[in-house]
Amino acid sequence: MKATTSSLSLAVVVRPEWGQAASLRNVVAALVKAASGDAEAAANAGMVACELAENAIKYGDWSNGGGFDFRLTVDGHEASVEVISPYDAASGSFERLGAILRAIEERSANDAYLARLAEVAEKSGETGRLGLLRIAHEVGARITAEIVDGTSCVRAKWRSGR
């Protein structure tokens, strides 16, 4: 881990246990707050970390144990979170992720988020598929995803702070 007043980086392998997502959120928010002094930037970074970590824990292939790679980078006002986790092609989770990212590109983060909220409101059994939309909508993050050597790599990049 390296931190200065203008840049910050963190790379850690995280155990895929649900409580670790909240732990990551707390750590990331505290680091960004310490480095920038900006409470909103800290909360945003914590939220992004938590949502991406929760997705990794939910949808990663943990049949062989292990953990997921978590990387946070803040360089001036440019922030990014990258999460790399083992991927089970049979789960279909990457296809669902791709559909969400296409919805953001085809509409806008705002429209895609509102459309999803409307879907949730209309159907009582409707759950999930809000985390990435929330990230894109709330912090204006650009989200990309790819499969590399059996792992899913999801990145969110956004402009951080005042």
Binding site: A21, M47, E51, K58, A118, E138
Partner: protein, 118 residues
């Protein structure tokens, strides 16, 4: 009511008041919030029933929590409960979410979503 790191304080009758505090980061918040909300609904059954929900002290909620809140608001709307939601606009995440939630407001005026006074 303590649900993990989330606390919900219930008080009053009409309006019934729910105050959310702490952090909602359960893996499946629906599994704990739905039974809680189901217990609340019978207290909001009469004509003129009113509910206040306060989120000012809710430090964090994950995206799964959003689903539970929306479903509850829909249930309240179906029962014609006058619902007032108050949030902390100085928390960026709250402002963005509750601004978006205004899409559930209808012309009947039953749902009001307002920032807390500074």
């Amino acid at each position: 009511m303590q649900l993990g790191e989330l606390e919900i304080e219930t008080s009053g009758t009409n309006p019934l008041r729910l105050v959310f505090r702490g952090k909602s980061n359960h893996r499946e918040p629906e599994s704990i919030l739905r039974p809680f909300f189901a217990d609340v609904l019978p207290h909001l059954d009469g004509p003129g029933a009113a509910l206040e929900m306060h989120f000012e002290d809710l430090e964090f909620f994950n995206s799964s929590t959003i689903t539970s809140i929306i479903h509850f608001i829909k249930d309240l709307s179906g029962r014609r409960v006058t619902t007032s939601i108050t949030y902390d606009a100085s928390r960026g995440g709250q402002k963005v979410f509750f601004d978006a939630l205004r899409m559930l407001q209808k012309t009947d005026g039953l749902l009001k979503i307002t920032p807390a006074s500074p």
